[in-house]
Amino acid sequence: MIDRAEASRYLVGRLKDELVVTSLGNEKYDLRQAGDRDRNFFNWNSMGLASSLGLGLAMAQPDLKVIVYDGDGALLMNLGSLATIAARQPKNLIHIVWDNRSYAMTGGQPTATAFHTDLGKVAEGAGYPKVERVETLAAFQNVSDRALKEPGPWFLHCLTEVKPAKSGGLSSPTANKHRFMNAIGARH
């Protein structure tokens, strides 16, 4: 099992101009605690939408790598997005899914991945060309380094445990949006 906070610190340490879009769970706090970046877009309450936001962003900014920082419960709500992403095959997309097999923010109720669902296999079946099951920090370091260099779309199925993240540090939705867009020179 990977310590998600530790892996997040490793990843953020490697990032340069990459864009990151988060889901609404604890993974967003670990990403935030790992460092303050203009190019992070945080999701307050759109469960399941991270992968779709990431796809739209990857289409708009094909020369930048776009990382989706997702969780098992959220992705289960939008499994169809895996098929949509696979149909489009955005080479610049890296989909990182933190799978703790639980709805950790609402009391730890089991998600479907606690039973028989394997999200990596779902992504493979949907048509992601590069799917990796990642179970250790060393493997995360190796695979995320490759994903940052090589074309995707990548799907990193990262196994982690239920562990509360240190919350806080996020700005308002509009402040976050403006900072993010200014960083890449984007206008509506």
């Binding site: 307050w44 759109s46 939408l49 739209g56 169809g80 949509t84 939705p173």
Partner: protein, 172 residues
């Protein structure tokens, strides 16, 4: 020039690049016109809620996209609008093929179709009904301009008055 061409001209005039869609028969008319005009990229979706995320992602990346879907699809999109497009102030144009009104044959389309305006009102999303060929381009163009000035969602309703209705098997 058809009503669908008028919509497509207004989209082009507003620099729309991505047409993200869940099809219905009205939406296909628009897609057909857009394929003929050229200059657009198309993204088929599995569900309309995804489309709100995709349009918002395109928008924060500095590109303009629209979601095209039937009224049933608006029903699938509500929390994405309420939790993303609205609080983050992201322009999110939605072109909706209206079902459940004049000539409807499908009992399953009636309730959502007829609730559409009230749902949009409850979310404070401005909506414009396209009912006549001769002002479709003007209304579409004006609605799109307003959408990018307002930094929020906007709905264009393609009605049966404009586009006719789908013929289906009546109840027996």
């Amino acid at each position: 020039m058809s009503w669908a061409d008028s919509i497509v001209r207004a989209l082009k005039n507003n620099n729309v690049r991505f047409l993200n869609y869940v099809p219905d028969s009205k939406i296909e008319k628009i897609l057909e016109a857009a394929r003929k005009h050229g200059g657009f990229e198309f993204l088929p979706l599995t569900r309309e809620e995804e489309g709100i995320g995709v349009v918002c992602g395109q928008a924060i990346g500095g590109a303009r996209g629209v979601l095209l879907c039937p009224t049933a699809g608006l029903g699938n999109s509500i929390n994405a609008l309420a939790s993303m497009a609205i609080p983050y102030c992201i322009p999110c144009p939605i072109i909706i093929g209206v079902r459940g009104e004049l000539g409807e044959f499908n009992p399953g389309q009636i309730t959502m179709g007829q609730a559409t305006q009230d749902i949009l009102d409850a979310l404070r999303i401005p909506a414009y009904r396209l009912t006549r060929e001769d002002d479709t381009e003007k209304i579409t163009d004006g609605a799109m301009r307003m959408c990018y000035a307002s930094d929020g969602p906007m709905a264009l309703l393609v009605t049966n008055e404009l586009a006719g209705w789908k013929e289906g098997t009546p109840l027996s």
